[in-house]
């Protein structure tokens, strides 16, 4: 086969970087292995429910609610193919003109390019329609400023639980409860099994539909492995 397609690629592709890969060794927890092996034995190799398997969604809801004192229901949760898909869905569905990030935003460069929105870094630049990307390692004083000054009628918050350790959550502020999406993943312990989630907000249904249009559901065996691990951990 020839090296090049006979027509030029889409212009957006030239703005993206080729990812680098470094092989790593992983030690999968026994409980995850057992969950996966049992799921294979039980024939759980077909499409799961579009939002993800119920016990894993129930665990995610309980985990978030316990840590942050929130009231998220399992039906507001969608299991995604890793944290990447959760971020991608949120940006594609919710970002109108810009993404605000306070810390390291290198993982948002590509998705902002694909969506064709700005990546901004200053609280002073917040305007209507911005998707605000926050996590537990962002400075609390800046988060407080954002919650006071950003418009909860037009802006959305993505709260990334994979960074920082905090019991604070923007959705604890009633103004932002329905405008905050919580994202997380099991990648710290189950690297390469590609399980993440997005939880809560009044856009949970639309986010779920977007995910479904991309990948239908998340890998069944990985979901059962993740459930095996979290239910033991």
């Amino acid at each position: 086969m020839t090296d090049n397609l006979s027509r030029p690629l889409a212009e957006r592709v030239a703005k993206l970087e080729l990812p680098q890969f470094t092989p790593i060794e992983v030690d999968v927890p026994q409980s995850a292995k057992e969950g996966a092996i049992q799921a294979l034995a039980d024939g759980k190799t077909h499409y799961t429910d579009r939002p993800g398997i119920v016990p894993l969604r129930e665990w995610v809801a309980e985990h978030i609610n316990t840590q942050y004192n929130l009231n998220i229901n399992k039906d507001e949760i969608t299991i995604t193919c890793g944290l990447e898909e959760a971020i991608f869905a949120c940006v594609m569905v919710l970002a109108e003109n810009a993404i605000l990030a306070l810390g390291d935003a290198s993982h948002l460069h590509g998705v902002s390019t694909l969506k064709d929105v700005l990546l901004i870094y200053s609280v002073d630049d917040i305007k209507d329609g911005v998707l605000i990307y926050l996590g537990g390692d962002d400075p609390q004083d800046k988060i407080d400023t954002i919650l006071k000054t950003a418009n909860p009628e037009t802006c959305w918050i993505v709260w990334d639980t994979t960074v920082g350790q905090s019991n604070f959550h923007p959705a604890q502020n009633e103004k932002w409860t329905s405008r905050t999406i919580t994202i997380g993943s099991t990648e710290d312990m189950l690297k390469g099994w590609r399980i993440g989630w997005m939880a809560g907000s009044s856009m949970a249904g639309k986010l779920r539909s977007f995910k479904q249009s991309m990948t239908i559901c998340s890998p069944s065996i990985s979901q059962w492995a993740a459930y095996g691990w979290v239910s033991e951990a």
Binding site: M1, T2, D3, N4, L5, S6, R7, L9, A10, E11, R12, V13, L16, E17, L18, P19, F21, P23, I24, V26, D27, V28, K33, A36, I37, L40, A41, G43, K44, T45, H46, Y47, T48, R50, T80, C81, G82, E84, E85, F88, M92, G110, V111, L114, K191, G192, W193, R194, S209, S213, M214, T215, I216, C217, S218, P219, S220, I221, S222, A225
Partner: protein, 392 residues
């Protein structure tokens, strides 16, 4: 035909959106006695050699973290398969492993289309193509296909639809939803049109393993001159009855695959390692279960054909895939309403033609993904509903 205003809001509100309509019907199909002839999810068990080999890989800690493009050994055996079975001249670097075929479609549209580029799409179509094309700013242009020639894609219809903005042509063979195939003769003529008009051909071949009677599957990418302008989409879900594992693949020129790797790093990252290992075992193990799958599907297909004929319903010649594209217009009931009635009163889930294009209100897509016994039972239930509501 008009949709009866008395059918529930959750159906009527999404009647214009094929994908949403199909999901709305699936969400209504909660009764445990429902016979599901809707979704294209094989009911057969994933072959045991795949299950056992994957379990052993897990036990032996052989589940790697994959590069974005996929595990090199899986990319290699996929390339080997495409060379051996499909006549494509590809190597490992021409292949990317995706998180299911649907993601492959999404990624390739992102890599291919600039805003306002046109993609020619056979009508009727699997409406998830709409979302993939729209997300890249592209526009769909429908190519008519016809019941009388089993929804084969006619070269002259393709050529008539080409405009200066046309960048690509989508071919789905065997077809979801019609069960038709694009014949080798048509594909060879379409290839010449693609070359003449400098078009890219996206060839979705996810149902290639299931072609019936004396029909054959043919890959347009094997036609001389098409190597640099064909993007072939396929996967493991349908062939090996492992839809939940979410493993697909795309074969294309190297610069295109590099573009897909860039986008995939942003959308979902690499496909799950455990799923790729299962796919590796699937493609490198015995292929005998696929012959048994095909025999079972052929038997069910015949049962469904006989039942529909007895009911007085006409259908297009189902040459491949899992579906009978059935003309229901003789009932006098709009397909969206008929699907609702079949579900509500007959407890049979069947998708209306409108799930695959708004104008297909005179058709149903009926899958054969249930046992022959259940297909017979479903046919009896369907007959009761059709007899009750048929407009005389």
């Amino acid at each position: 035909m008009m949709i009866n205003p008395n059918i529930p809001e959750e159906i009527r509100n999404v009647a214009h959106d094929g994908t949403a309509l199909r999901y709305a019907l699936m969400e209504m199909a909660t009764h445990p006695d429902v016979i599901a002839l809707g979704r294209g999810d094989p009911d057969l068990a994933t072959p045991s050699y795949i299950i056992e080999a994957t379990q052993n890989s897990i036990r032996q800690n052989e589940i790697p973290v994959s590069p974005i493009a996929g595990l090199p050994e899986l990319r290699q055996v996929v390339a080997d398969k495409l060379n051996r079975e499909n006549g494509l001249k590809v190597d490992r670097d021409n292949v990317i492993i995706t998180t299911g075929g649907q993601e492959g479609l999404f990624l390739l549209m992102q890599v291919l289309l600039n805003p306002d580029d046109e993609v020619l799409v056979p009508d009727p179509r699997y409406t998830s193509y709409d979302e993939a094309i729209a997300s890249a700013g592209g526009k769909m242009v429908m190519i008519p296909t016809d019941h009388n020639d089993a929804f084969n894609l006619r070269p002259e219809a393709v050529e008539q639809a080409i405009t200066p903005k046309t960048k690509a042509l989508l071919i789905v063979t065997p077809s979801n939803p019609t069960g038709g195939i694009v014949t080798r003769e048509s594909l060879e003529a379409i290839a010449q049109i693609a070359i003449k008009h400098n078009l890219i051909v996206i060839s979705d071949e996810i149902y290639e393993k299931f072609v019936y009677d004396n029909w054959e599957h043919f890959s347009i990418g094997s036609v001389p001159g098409m190597e640099s302008r064909t993007v072939t989409l396929n996967g493991f879900s349908k062939a090996y009855a492992m839809t939940g594992l979410r493993v697909g693949y795309v074969a294309a020129p190297k610069n295109f695959i590099e573009g897909m790797i860039k986008v995939k790093a942003i959308t979902t990252g690499a496909a799950a390692g455990v799923s790729q290992i299962a796919a590796y075992h699937a493609i490198t193990g015995t292929q005998e279960p696929l012959q048994e799958f095909k025999r079972i599907y052929a038997e069910r297909r015949q049962a469904m054909m006989d039942g529909l004929t007895a009911m007085g319903l006409d259908y297009s010649d189902p040459r491949g895939a899992f579906f009978l594209w059935t003309n229901s217009s003789s009932t006098g009931i709009h397909a969206t309403e008929l699907s609702y009635l079949l579900l509500k009163e007959g407890r049979v889930l069947i998708f209306p033609g409108t799930g695959f294009g708004e104008q297909w209100g005179g058709y149903l897509r009926i899958s054969i993904l249930q046992s022959t016994d259940k297909i017979h039972k479903a046919l009896q239930r369907m007959e009761t509903v059709v007899q009750k509501y048929r407009v005389r």
